[in-house]
């Protein structure tokens, strides 16, 4: 792990040359897996994440079923090799919490009433971690859900805002995440501005919170555009005679 940088912002630019309100390079591909009903591979800065969706499908054991609507399940997992020091395989406390808040980030948009007793399963695998894996995962999961044809009111877009050198910055990179003053990931329904995930740790004044929140919101809007583009491209490929992946 790199040591703490002396300064995070020099001449208005961040360590990787970005402006404070700029996202890292983003690449999204939908429909990349055969077996899953929907899938998405996403790179955001150094992050590489794969999302897959199965469902609506049957739920075992039966007592987990909801007789009135589908249940949404979400598994966020980091590959052992995704981080500097090898991670023990399997869920840990951090990934269990992240899975929970990410699951809830999709509850307001998935139209669950159509599929009582069934489950919609979202799997997010972090293949390479580079700060902001939960937001990257949500963005990929959102596209994978659409690719799977799951009925949703809207996509969900997610982005974090943070603070370094007392400056609010969008979409933290690794050093900013490790040594910064605050980190606040949010997920929103871009069309309405409603918030479906909100976490924060570190230190923010009341004013910084308000300003940072709006920055993160704008970040989500940009991500939403990229998500829509990726889906359009995927459907176009399918129309052009590619294999009907995930349909």
């Amino acid at each position: 792990m790199n040591a703490k940088p002396e300064k995070f912002i020099i001449d208005g630019l961040r360590l990787d040359g970005r402006r404070p309100d700029e996202l890292r390079p983003l690449k999204i591909s939908a429909g990349v897996l055969k077996r899953a009903d929907g899938s998405c591979y996403l790179e955001l800065g150094a992050n590489k994440v794969m999302a897959a969706v199965y469902g609506p499908r049957q739920v075992h054991p039966r007592h987990m079923q909801d007789a009135t609507k589908a249940i949404v399940r979400y598994r966020y997992n980091m590959a052992s090799f995704s981080v500097g020091d090898r991670k023990r395989p399997g869920p840990d406390r951090r990934s269990i919490e992240i899975s929970k808040v990410c699951r809830d980030a999709f509850q307001p948009v998935v139209i669950k009433e159509r599929h009582p007793r069934l489950a919609i399963d979202v799997f997010v695998e972090v293949l390479q971690a580079g700060a902001g894996t939960r937001t990257a995962g949500i963005n990929a999961a959102s596209v994978a859900l659409a690719d799977a044809g799951i009925a949703m009111k809207s996509l969900v877009a997610s982005c974090a805002v943070g603070k370094v050198d007392d400056t609010l910055v969008l979409d933290l990179m690794k050093e900013e995440d490790n040594y910064g003053q605050a980190d606040m990931p949010i997920a929103v329904i871009p069309t309405t501005g409603e918030i479906t995930l909100l976490q924060m740790d570190g230190h923010l004044t009341r004013d910084e919170f308000g300003t940072g929140f709006k920055m993160a919101m704008e970040g989500c809007q940009k991500i939403h555009e990229a998500q829509k583009e990726a889906l359009a491209k995927c459907y176009q490929m399918k129309d052009d005679g590619g294999e009907q992946v995930g349909e």
Partner: protein, 262 residues
């Protein structure tokens, strides 16, 4: 938790009607807590402890301070480990093992409040770099779950830490036990959103009806060290802002009432 809770299901309709008239189930104002009691020093075998009641919700928090080895990437810092046990005693819905992710979220939220507010000076908890540091275990034991465990657990953790002692003698570090230094007083305030209204300190019935709540942890100067939205519904930006403002105010009140003389 709501859908697992039989009592909640039965009373849902009744509560809905009440809330529609702007009333809370137990007659409180929207920004009003249930009675809070905090008793410290309840567990003599723990280095710090507190028994907290918010309404009928009851939590015991014990702080154990022991010597251990530091993490390899922070050889010069003490360690905080926070754990929550949602024992089946506390609720009929915790019968067959409580919801694991809920207990983990609770513990991690309390942990973030202590850690991110820098309430403990981890550098001062180092005894010998790379070899020996103080491990501060914060164990949350929920006895009776009548809603808003997060705030009860957070208050308990803070109160237990504020009254905790570093057991220098037991571990032969020095001849005198000293009080643990606590530099900040982070207070968690949880509110639900229901039909656009924000109400602090939800009781169990209110938690069951509202599908979203938000916890804001704030410091003495009114700055924020932790936020978590919990639950399946969305919130608007305006609702979030109102919850944040209310939380900062209530935290200040609670801090002044309970912690100014601890």
């Amino acid at each position: 938790m709501g859908s697992n809770n039989i009592i909640a299901e039965i009373q849902r309709d009744h509560m809905y009607n009440l809330l529609m008239r702007g009333e809370r189930v137990d007659g409180r104002a929207f920004d009003e807590y249930r009675p809070i009691s905090i008793e410290t020093g309840v567990i003599a075998r723990a280095e710090g402890s507190a028994h907290v009641k918010i309404g009928e919700s009851q939590v015991v928090v014990g702080v154990k301070i022991q010597i251990g080895t530091p993490f390899s990437d922070t050889p010069d810092k003490g360690v905080i480990i926070t754990n929550a046990e949602l024992i089946p005693m506390a609720s009929p819905s915790f019968e067959s093992g409580p919801p694991k992710d809920y207990a983990i979220e609770l513990a991690r939220l309390v942990d973030r409040g202590i850690r991110e507010s820098k309430a403990l000076d981890l550098d001062r908890l180092c005894i010998e770099e790379g070899e020996k540091v103080w491990m501060v275990f914060i164990d949350i034991h929920a006895l009776d779950y009548d809603g808003n465990l997060v705030d009860a657990a957070s208050l308990g953790a803070l109160a237990a830490l504020l009254t905790a002692t570093i057991p220098n003698k037991k571990y032969e570090v020095s001849d005198e036990d000293v009080q643990l230094t606590v530099r900040e007083m982070p207070i968690a305030v949880t509110a639900i959103e229901f039909e656009g209204e924000i109400m602090v300190d939800p009781c169990l019935h209110e938690e069951a009806v509202a599908s979203s709540r938000i916890t804001v942890i704030s410091n003495q100067d009114g700055s924020i060290c932790g936020i978590q939205k919990i639950g399946t519904d969305s919130l608007t930006e305006d609702q979030v802002n109102r919850a944040v403002d209310m939380a900062i105010n209530k935290a200040r009140e609670i801090r002044e009432r309970f912690f100014i003389n601890i």
